[in-house]
Symmetry: D2
Subunit: 395 residues, 4 copies
């Protein structure tokens, strides 16, 4: 038997909502907040899951709480969940995790014999991506797994890892063996559980936005875990100056620990003035929006695009409730770019190497280690508490 944190929901489509081909009444919705009400997370006792021939059973050792977890469990005035993407009913939440393999499907051994190396075995520390792509659609055929026509998401529409044991297909797991050179015991699993948010930020800044040139400046808006991961990554790829804006003093402290050259409370300084002064008038090459406030900082970005040097990029990762106004004229006159990203496929091994060699130590983002039983409470706390770095369940 094992304990797990499951999310239960009530099916209550908003007026006018129509079921798409990939949605199943009472089971799964593509845009959660249009269908599900009364989210509640419960710690349940249940038998261990069974694995298929290409799957592994993982004893979970650490699992971070993501902003999406908080949003799924939060609700608006009418009781609808606040999370607007794929959500299934009764699913184990949790997708930022690490653990040890305890059992492997029979086809995996056979496969590893054929390739002549045993990458995975009982005891191997691993993490897994939450994008569970179908492998069969036209996008999967092109290797663009984050654009899969039929993506499921571990911890959203499929059982996740906020539980003592989790299951993942062989093609979605990554070995954390290399981390053992710098980390051991629980520390390895703490670092390993945070590969996932780093991978999302890596995909956004490196794969999608095309990085920056070493010696360029960078600005990060928002010092939650995604913003902090952005700070760490931008500094380690050669940004001359990384400037963070974040109201929480605790988060600003972490930002400095992971690489920010400057960290300001946006309520206490003039954002555009500070940036232009610290960058000596040229502005940043990358503005990384990780707070979901693009709508309210749009005119600042517009001003910076105009005042600074040409060819800047606004990289969007934070989900906001309002759309942002982009001044198209400023893009035209300054060759500026606005681009967004959300997935994480294809970059995991590079991120693991960055952590394994110590370039990035994601444990610095952790501010709370909690138990599985405390998860429901922390999901509530985090609705309003915007001071924490990463809150992580340790098993």
């Amino acid at each position: 038997m094992m304990k797990a944190a499951r999310l239960f929901l009530d099916w209550y489509p908003r007026e006018g909502s129509q079921l798409g081909p990939r949605e199943i009444k009472g089971k799964v919705a593509q845009e959660g907040s249009k269908f599900w009400r009364n989210p509640r997370v419960e710690i349940v006792q249940e038998p261990l899951p069974r694995i298929g021939p290409t799957e592994v059973l993982i004893k979970v050792r650490a699992c971070g709480i993501c902003g999406s977890d908080v949003l799924m469990a939060a609700f608006d005035g009418e009781g609808y969940t606040r999370y607007g993407y794929i959500m299934g009913n009764g699913v184990i939440i949790g997708h930022e995790f690490s653990g040890e393999i305890v059992e492997m499907g029979r086809r995996i051994d056979e496969y590893q014999r054929r390739i002549g190396k045993e990458v995975f075995k009982a005891g191997t520390p691993v993490t897994a991506q939450c994008v569970v792509n179908c492998g069969l659609c036209e996008k999967c055929k092109e290797g663009k797994f984050d654009e899969c026509w039929l993506t499921e998401e571990r911890g959203f529409s499929l059982d996740g890892a906020m539980a003592e044991y989790a299951v993942a297909d062989f093609r979605h797991i990554y070995s954390l063996e290399d981390l053992s050179e710098k980390y051991s015991g629980e520390e390895l699993f703490l670092a390993g559980a945070l590969i996932e948010p780093l991978a999302g930020v890596y995909k956004a800044l490196i794969s999608i936005a095309g990085s920056l040139n070493p010696g360029d400046n960078a600005v990060v808006i928002g010092g939650g875990p995604i913003g902090l991961a952005g700070v760490a990554l931008l500094k380690v790829i050669g940004a001359a100056t990384v400037i963070l804006f974040e109201p929480s003093p605790q988060r600003r402290e972490i930002a400095k620990a992971v690489g920010a050259d400057y960290a300001f409370d946006p309520g206490k300084v003039n954002l555009t003035e500070v940036i232009l002064e610290l960058t000596k008038g040229i502005g940043a090459k990358i503005y990384f929006e990780a707070a979901g406030v693009a709508a309210s900082i749009g005119s600042d970005i517009d001003f910076l695009f105009k005042a600074g040097e040409a060819g800047s990029k606004l990289v969007l990762m934070g989900h906001g409730e309002e759309n942002a106004m982009i001044c198209t004229e400023t893009l035209i006159s300054g060759y500026n770019v606005v681009v967004g990203s959300h997935g994480h496929s294809g970059v995991w091994r590079n991120v693991i190497r960055m952590v394994a060699t110590g370039l990035i130590d994601p444990r610095k983002m952790i501010t709370q280690k909690i138990t599985l039983e405390e998860v429901p409470e922390w999901l509530t706390i985090l609705r309003s508490n915007k001071e924490e770095g990463k809150v992580i369940v340790v098993f």
Copy 2:
């Protein structure tokens, strides 16, 4: 003596407008529409210009009327020019031109002896870029001439080519000699005068937006000269399907002649439906906005970004009066990009080779050949007439 079309203006700063370091009272303003009133274009008789040691004197043979020329000579209810960028008083307009060298500064010969080839001599057909970069600022040092701190613009703040003779510095001219393989006489100069708008579109779509992959689809909004140049370029770089939207039947006809697979009147079809149907649901990789209507088609683009495949780009080149709302959430979920461009430096030789080898024949865009005397009249006509392709002065 020669004839020239000069633009005269009255200095009348709007309330609150402040002079920047690069503006000169009564002579030049960076944002024309904030300072200049009562624009009038007059055909004047005057002595030929003199050339400096690194300059050439060009006998102009053809000069196109650009949308900017029309805007400079147009005015709003208070009489202010409608053009919002750099404008000088009393300047000869015209920047899309070609002609023959009739005289060369003395340092050019010396220079050509040193390089051991005579690229330019009396009689050489040439065109010139209108970006007259300073060559000394930090951006010029980096070869990014379009981002020059002190750019002047031929035909805007410096004398242009809507005249029987024009002057250009050696470092801003390009030989049209290669065009003589496909074109002769006036035809060569007609094609040569239209290198400039092609160069702007090449810079936007290839250098700044990063092109598309052959076999991707493309959509062009607006069938004026810039949109038509976009159609021609996109087709010749391997777009599978190029779809144009443009109200004018004449322009739609030209679009088909230069490469559009389809051309629709946006008032008569549902833009998003047509695009999704013709692209079999995947949408376009590039949406090229060349009509200045980003504000009004924003929601269509948003819909297409969501319905089509991920990784699309909205490339902005058309100046609009309103800002466009970009749905940031759609950029995040689909890895989509919005980017703008306006310059043309660095791409001229490639564009000339494309015209010289017949890949693009810009003459197909010409709908009116006029005389210099007719310029003032056509500048008025073109304020409301949105049916023409390119109107070009032939000398």
Copy 3:
């Protein structure tokens, strides 16, 4: 019952050859020419293959003979096959093919219901990639299927399509439905069978070498099917001038038909002189080596790199028997690049759209249509005949 062309081999490892983990005595070798002797292709009668739950059975309608097929069936003085890559014994050859689906595995229907569209059904015209990647290794997890640790190849180590029926997994097939707008009947299948070689060339020139800028020049060495596909692709992406070198007059004629601006017999002209003259001294941006003669043209390329403009690329796709000497000093002084490619994953839908919309018509490369029974004879003929374009089996 069906007819098929199977390749039989004798296991006879050369002295010193050691079996790797992925090789199986008497069954499959990674470097064929080190293990296999006495290749013979026989037309056999046998029962139709059975399909698994995610596979389709395809009635083959056309299948091209590739240079690799010729090499597998050819042998050196000691009787060893001339093909140096993966080869299995008793395998049906053929990997450039098209056909119609006649039966689908049961899981495919279920899958298509879930995605809400029926891309494939009985009667759908299809082709399939020959790279049969494992889907499980670290490279497959990154979407880099051509670098799969455990790749099998249809027609090399797995049964191919030189047979009346062939089997392919759902994740390796591509619909040719779009071709029906321009082609019908046999013509559709002829065009469809040649998607595979086009995909290899697309991968090399676009995905790996990074294309060229429109208006750049290109040179192709070798006018066999790969070189001809290179000519067609380079012209359609905006190369100003495409120059082919190929001894066979027939192939030169085809080259002109598919887009070459010039086609020369390299035995009759001075390659470097011709290129420098036709490109007016600047040389080509891409030199596409499709003849396997890099070793013998190395010094010409070196000369061209030096004489022409900087930043040129030598793109290697032709397998040669000797290594080429690259003058590293010329790369340093001219920022030149040498790069190679061989796979074809990830680009199929774009290539199909290019054929479907008529940008490229690969049927122009076909010089012989033959029957399955004639395959063994033509494999022998093609060892010495270097005059044909594509020889294709029609069913």
Copy 4:
């Protein structure tokens, strides 16, 4: 009066050497080692140079000795200089320098008034690029200054900075003002003099080779100043593991100080084994050749390309006496790339920001500070001494 180190040469063309259009008998040769004999460097006393209207006079404060300086002053058995690129007779050597502006040409003030900021004035610390491009040729028009048709080189064909005073045109100097935040006095000028070699390495690895992805591994061959700069840059852009090979223990120590994770004596270890072990079998993404030994390590690179993961790049910057054999088959099967670079235009401000913010501290490479009078002696010493990092003249 000032002291300067001038290089005197005897004009003695090797048999068969022909003068090109840009060479002047007895004055300047494009390939020095084919024309010049008996190089001798002398410390001369002479009047201060005069500046033109767009030039500045710089009081030199530090000037590094580059490998090219050593080669120019070295000679082969027949007395010919060992340097094979542009060389003029009687020129002041030195091109890695920094100093303070002491006088400015009259047009600079006028220019700075127009842009509204005073970037340069008497006392401003500066460095200058050695590429003195013509500004007029077709490549300069495209902003590709390193490919200028008529490049002169400061310290090679024009007077350099191994002197108490040097002259540079306004468009070739860069302010070192930003360095004053981290460095002061002599330290600022030591750091500033080494911007030039860093810029060359930045151009090669970032601009030309296209960088690596953060988390990739990198190998550097050769721990002279160029190799050391490569180590520092690669580490600071996110290479997971940087491995250096260099025989000198002193240089290996410096390598570790500037960022190498490992530094080996290539005579004492098996290069390929070490690399594969430390990279866990995947090899490096970038192999940076900075020792001029591509010819002798060609087969190692070939082995590594084959054994490691696909898509690796060999980046060449070291000038060797022999050409290297590149196994084209390995490039084809592994999508590998060979590319070279030598210039440094366009990247200076980014490099200066990297030094100013402390990302790279080039002073760590300095092993000897000498006086101008010691230059001739050190040029001799450095022919055989391959132990030093950077030897730098302090004024």
